[in-house]
Amino acid sequence: MTLKGGPWSESKGTTSSGYQSLYTRRCVAPTSIGKTFVSLYAMEQAPLASDDDTLAYAAPTKALKTEGKVLAIILLSPPLASVWTRKSNESFLTRLTSLDNQRVARLDHICTADAVLQRSLGHRRLFRNLRLASFGVEGKSVAGECVFQTVLILQPLLGNHGVPAWPAPWDALPEHFGHNRIHIAVLVGNYTEDYRHFLAESSLGAWLKENGVLALYGVDARLTKDSRGLSIGQAGEFDYSGSQAVKALKGEGIYTIMVNLNIPTIATSKSLADKVNFSPSPKYVRKIIKYEQPDGIYVTFSGQTVLNVGIKFKDEFAELGVKVFGMPIETIITTEDRQLFADAVTEIWEKFAESRTVTNVDEAITAAKTIGYLVIVRAAYVLGACEEEYEGWKEIEYEVVRDCRDNCITVCNMENFNPLGIYTGDPIVVAPSQTLSDANYNMLRTTAVNVISHSGVVGECNIQYYALGPTSQEYCMIEVNVRLSRSSALASKATGRSLAFIAAKFGLGIPLKEIKNSVTKVTSACFEPPPDYVVVKIPRWDLKKSNWVNRLLSSSMKSVGEAMAIGRTFEESFQKAVRSIDDSFSGFVENDYVEDIDEELANPTDRRVFAINTVFRREYSVDKIRQMTNIDKRG
């Protein structure tokens, strides 16, 4: 099977053997939300999935696996006359989320059946270049508006065990089916007319034809991997922050609805939110709000898309009677817009200490005369100038939380192994910082706290600096993320302090000092954890799998995952992390991964650390390596 190591690679007999039940299960459509749900009871209840079945069909399944075929079922449901109660709707959702999250790869839009067919016949990347063939009823398209749900069930082959005897119309509780009507049209990846089962009376295709159900096969589900949903390694932090937020809210006894497109996540699992909704686009957010009538909404536990939704609905939230918890939308707008943010920071510096921005010595002297001595002259930039000027600067990040009472703490600071210019997704990160003196550390900490307080952040915030020219106290702030970012997730893991959890509590107006420290259980959460260990995070670059990718690391994210190691010394953690990235690496040891050493040192690629080790062995001096790489000698 080609989806090796992917999230859906595991396949068991259950779903494939219970398909007839699946098709007959009603789809849930609470009209007021816009019919976004589908019922999937059948997927866990497979009536025919006895052990015998599994054994009987294991062989063909396996055979197909080797050919690299993956099946998909896309469920289409016609409009329903009856309105389902909210209760059943929830129970569906609970069940949906209990599906092990492996078989359900996606739920999609509401659209018309015609559109479905159009899309399936080549308008979308998902189905491009596929030869689809019909095996159900022919010469018919499902007309009118209906609910279209796509659920990919990654079973390589359907139809193996045919269809049992169709229940009589009076049979209220059909034995082998979820319902006595078929509610959906079917698209599958591979389909067989050859069935064999002691209960089977007809083939799947015949059964569908008889019942007038549309069915197509030939869908390659592998193509959906990158179409929507969870891209590998990209949204893990949001899953983390989402689930932590739900936990925090549930802890306060709050009824929580999680809106999350990514089905195979922790955040959508059964035991977490009271309710899960899979339609995060702005259009549905409005519908969901109208239907659920929530008191408030959080928009900072995910990425840019959700922040944008928040910004877009800024005015509407109030009309809908929804309060934005946590971060005020104005703050999000300010920090998202670089110019606004630069203005805001300038504002604090004026509040903070009387200051003038000068560009030459004469101006500085004039300014000093106006302000009056003593003056501190320092070079500091906010989001200014081009990056070349900062060559060799350290890159430092601070994770700051602030509650509604203006209490601020920095939970963690992190230092990048490589100097400046490698995007946050990619650097090798050391936490806490190891090469900053107390003055440096607290200078940046104070600035971080002041910026956060001034911009009105409530919750968690990440500040990135290009700090400290290698030879002075200069620094430059580059970015403020007012949401949980990848580094927040790292900071949480590194310190054992869940930032998302704390941020969610802040949103409810709970002050920092009333949250208990989740590590010690007795002390207050309002304290800055002083780790007595060192954390090293190394990203995993899988660039060799994609030949056309330029291996040079730059400001775009190229890593596909990361390994975090904890140890008592930098050396220990670093070694652990390198070994954890890939089983072919035996650590920071003698290696032959890199051919052109000097080039590698000067222009970082994914192999840089190995090059460094090689040159250690070739007796390059530490200073020479430092000069070539700008890596701090002990950083």
Binding site: I409, T435, D438, K513, E528, D532, V534, T569
Partner: protein
């Protein structure tokens, strides 16, 4: 106990193998940290090859080993850093121009104040633009021993359970000798450490400053003086037992600094201060030891805590507003103390709690009440940081502002306010205190 020691020894050995930067194995001098409670931790020596006694304490600060080691409050203590790697950013030049604007040092005092340091992994090589030497060579120059390769987490866990413990750092040949008998341990808290670190002579910094502040030096960190001078105050530094009452009319405010050891040794200062508070209405501010002295003068008792608070992450809750401090806010503070004031109910007349520790609810600050007509503040933490967070640094501005307002109100003769000279009564000079 024997079993415990064996395990520890094994662990140390394994640990030291992993150190890439620890002192080179060939010339490594063995060292051992003995605790009075019977445990021994072995490692290798760095710094001076001498053996010392001291009180074993731990600090959780991540940065600022240089500031901590020069902090006079660590006098007589064997300092264990919970941060495993110490020495990465080396040691800067500890000299600044000793002029009207600065206090002569870049760190907290001229020399290393703690008795010894215990670290997990000392960095032989350092890298920082301001660094000039390694921590090992700095310790060596100041004749301070250090031990590396110790499982500091184990030491810390032990100290946290059993409290601050007397210890001995044995270096070289001493390391192979058996641990001292319990009566042999030297207890620094029995000594008046304040007297050892306090200035012996009176001096004034920034004599033309806008307000005149007297600073009683119980072992002041340089950053306290620096913070006052940077706010344009003329600071006259007095020995800890100097009777300020004799010269109080020449000043706009009184500052009581931090200091090492047991505040009971400074009862004399507390009694003097009680008189000052009763008879003098100008602003008084105390930090750490100064805060305890103020508390004692107010009638509160000081007690010894189990392991004290040392680190840069102590949350304190403000119970009252004053200047830049807002009631209800939590500030993250730098702390270093073994003793604290007892929280008494009711509080002495005219006094109220100012700050309280969010973790252990110990008193972190007291102040005179609004209606008492006094202006006295004391805080257990270090608003001047160095090292640590600068959340409460503005308390210095508040104090200087208060002093300025007094200076204007009190209509003192112009000559006295602007004058750089402090008149010392002959009686005090003769007593040999100054």
């Amino acid at each position: 106990m024997f079993r415990y020691q064996t395990i520890r020894a094994v662990r140390c050995a394994r640990f030291s193998r992993g150190l890439a930067t620890a002192v080179n194995k060939g010339g490594a001098i063995p060292a051992a940290l003995h605790l009075k409670t019977g445990q021994t931790f072995r490692g290798t020596s760095f710094g001076a090859p001498t053996s010392v006694f001291g009180e074993t304490v731990f600090s959780t600060s991540i940065t600022s080993y240089t500031e901590s080691m020069t902090d006079p409050s660590y006098r007589g203590q064997i300092l264990v850093f919970t941060t495993p790697m110490i020495g990465n950013y080396g040691v800067p030049v500890n000299q600044a121009p000793f002029d009207s604007q600065d206090v002569g040092v870049t760190l907290e005092s001229k020399g290393i104040q703690c008795a010894a340091v215990v670290v997990g992994d000392v960095a032989e090589k350092f890298s920082h633009y301001a660094a000039v030497e390694s921590i090992a060579s700095w310790c060596k120059r100041h004749n301070i021993p250090g031990i590396t390769g110790v499982d500091t987490r184990a030491v810390t866990t032990l100290l946290r359970d059993q409290g601050t413990t007397l210890g001995r750092l044995a270096v070289g040949a001493d390391a192979s000798l058996p641990a001292p008998e319990s009566h042999e341990y030297w207890d620094p808290s029995l000594e008046n450490l304040v007297d050892q670190v306090s200035t012996k002579e009176i001096y004034t910094l920034n004599p033309n400053g806008s307000v005149k502040i007297a600073l009683l030096d119980f072992g002041a960190k340089a950053n306290i003086t620096r913070s006052l001078v940077r706010r344009n105050a003329a600071v006259t530094v007095l020995p800890w037992n100097f009777d300020f009452n004799t010269i109080r009319d020449q000043f706009d405010g009184l500052f009581l600094s931090n200091g090492p050891g047991d505040p009971q040794h400074c009862m004399e200062a507390a009694l003097n201060l009680r008189r000052t508070i009763n008879e003098w209405n100008k602003p008084i501010f105390g930090i750490c030891m100064g805060h305890q002295i103020i508390g004692m003068a107010a009638g509160l008792d000081a007690y010894r805590m189990t392991f004290g608070n040392r680190g840069h992450n102590q949350p304190v809750l403000a119970l009252a507003s004053s200047g830049s401090i807002k009631a209800g806010r939590v500030y993250v503070t730098s702390q270093n103390h073994q003793y604290a004031l007892e929280l008494q109910d009711p509080f002495p007349q005219g006094w109220e709690p100012f700050f309280i520790n969010c973790n252990d609810s110990s008193v972190e600050g007291i102040k005179s009440t609004e209606d008492s007509g006094k202006r006295v503040w004391g805080v257990q933490f270090h608003p001047e940081s160095a090292g640590g967070p600068l959340d409460t640094i503005e308390m210095f501005s508040d104090f200087v502002t208060e002093c300025k307002s007094t200076a204007t109100i009190s209509h003192q003769p112009a000559g006295v306010i602007g004058s750089s000279k402090v008149e010392i009564p002959l009686a005090q000079k003769a007593a040999g205190i100054a």
